[in-house]
Point group: C2
Chain length 318, copies 2
């Protein structure tokens, strides 16, 4: 394949700087889900760690580089999970962490960012407005801006998930698509090491910017987003990330809100997992196209479990 | 220490016959729980595998020995989790598996035993009645009886959890106590390798037979049990298991039903975990004696997640 910005040797090396608590997460077949979905389903579970999402893999790489003599202060914009992870990794390395988030992010995410001793600044807008504000803070204060998906370390950290998949036997991997760090990271490793496995990115119809961009092979922005999947609700794809995604994704599909919520419910009822909506995108994709997956074995990455429990209760009892 | 029936070298060797899907389960600090409980809390998570409990570790050892030329049929009594695990391990090795369970066991457990192609026989009584029935079937049909906690393989399989703890730094481990396989297994490894760590067994006040036996240093049976923690509700401790427990447990405590349910709720609200009541015994023990644990770092083994969701909903919203 053409070369992405990512490097497989660096991804292997990243395993050495990531706290082992984030590595070698569970990967297991879930037969109860298989019965419900009509295909082989393995879960790659990224919620059983101190920040309950895969984002710690990337922030460990970012902060380990900073701890080696870079700036001692960092700022990031976050939909909620990157901020928690950066706060966790930064605290362990004595860094001063500022997180900018939307005030409409789930309270569960904002509370945990605060609990991890990060400075939290809320903007009265969405994730892309938080990105602008974080960049302004970085310029003003001369601190390091961590940009999810643009900083290759965030992609290569997420890519370590891919290294943990390639020894298994499966036909396709379903990856939640937001900014693209996980999709380009896991996609890079899968295409480099097991190119026959289909890399399928899944995004909400209500936040389709990156998927539309992938389909048109150029950046397409949207004016707004409207989805329960707060973790992947971006409007402005990053050109360099799109370029990588074009090289590694076999498909990018959009799913309806009702399917995402049904996915949250199925993962609760049949797998006993409490997940945030972004983590149910893979199941939603199967629900919307059972024929495509029938008889095949798919891995779905359950990428985060930071969810407001009142909302979750509504979705699973709905 | 005096010698238990268990052998540390055999436990290390057991790792080689156990499907890796059961090994190296997540072990992580949960700060949200720490804030609620007033002590350091690490979770050892045994629910993210194909049978959602730790029992697969033991049944993998049992069935790997049978697959090496032993009988091709096995029967066990089960509160629900051993049966699922034996069905899973037996199916993979072409064994004929019969599980005897109480008809009052959670439907979630019974359904999954059936789904794993095991023959399920229900008795109109409790777990100890199922034990008698399983023994009768074994005699009648001349098949291998797998006896949880008595068969040392079930203890040594569970003991592999201990091997995965001893490199961490902690002060005490909280272990659900039922028949005693997990308590003697993990206890053996901890006392052999990190003897300064306190081994605390936790049982419901409503099913106290083994704890009372441990305290009196002789087998004490009870006429009945009355607890939501179905996974640990035995009335008749096995003498050989008690002997081992006397060698490895530093303490055995009894907890109230309200504390167990509060533990289920805390694990849901603060750790995002759906657990069965037996898996909340450790948290219940902290809730009942905060002073004992204040400022210390405890590991609690979250040993199973097979729970009827209607009951769970009642507990977490109660």
């Amino acid at each position: 394949m053409q070369e992405t910005r990512l490097d497989t040797a660096r991804i292997r090396a990243a395993r050495r700087v990531i706290d082992p608590v984030f590595l070698d997460s569970p990967l297991y077949r879930c037969e109860a889900l298989e019965a419900a979905l009509g295909c082989g389903v393995s879960i790659k579970l990224e919620t059983a760690n101190p920040v309950r999402s895969f984002k710690g893999r990337g922030t460990e790489v970012v902060t380990s580089l900073l701890a080696d003599g870079g700036p001692r202060a960092v700022v990031c914009a976050s939909a909620g999970n990157l901020g928690q992870a950066l706060a966790w990794s930064g605290r362990g390395r004595g860094l001063d962490v500022t997180v900018v988030a939307s005030r409409f992010a789930p309270a569960a995410k904002l509370d945990r960012i605060r609990a991890l001793d990060a400075r939290l600044e809320l903007v009265d807008g969405d994730f892309d407005m938080a990105r602008e504000r974080a960049a302004a803070i970085a310029r003003r204060d001369g601190v390091r801006l961590v940009e999810d998906s643009l900083d290759v370390e965030t992609c290569e950290g997420a890519a370590t998930i891919g290294l943990e998949l390639v020894d298994a036997s499966f036909d396709a991997v379903l990856i939640a698509l937001g900014g693209g760090a996980m999709a380009t990271g896991v996609g890079h490793v899968v295409k480099a090491l097991v190119p026959g496995v289909e890399v399928i990115c899944v995004q909400p119809l209500g936040a389709p910017a990156m998927t539309r961009s992938w389909r048109r092979r150029r950046v397409v922005t949207t004016a707004s987003t409207d989805t329960v999947a707060d973790g992947v609700a971006g409007r402005r794809p990053i050109p360099a990330v799109l370029d990588d995604l074009l090289l590694v994704a076999d498909d990018a599909v959009l799913v309806r809100e009702a399917s995402i919520i049904a996915g949250v419910r199925l993962l609760f009822e049949h797998a006993g997992l409490v997940v945030e909506p972004s983590a149910a995108l893979g199941v939603a994709a199967i629900l919307e196209d059972r024929e495509r997956f029938a008889g095949r074995h798919v891995v779905t990455i359950v990428c985060g479990g930071n969810v407001d429990l009142d909302a979750h209760r509504g979705w699973v009892t709905g």
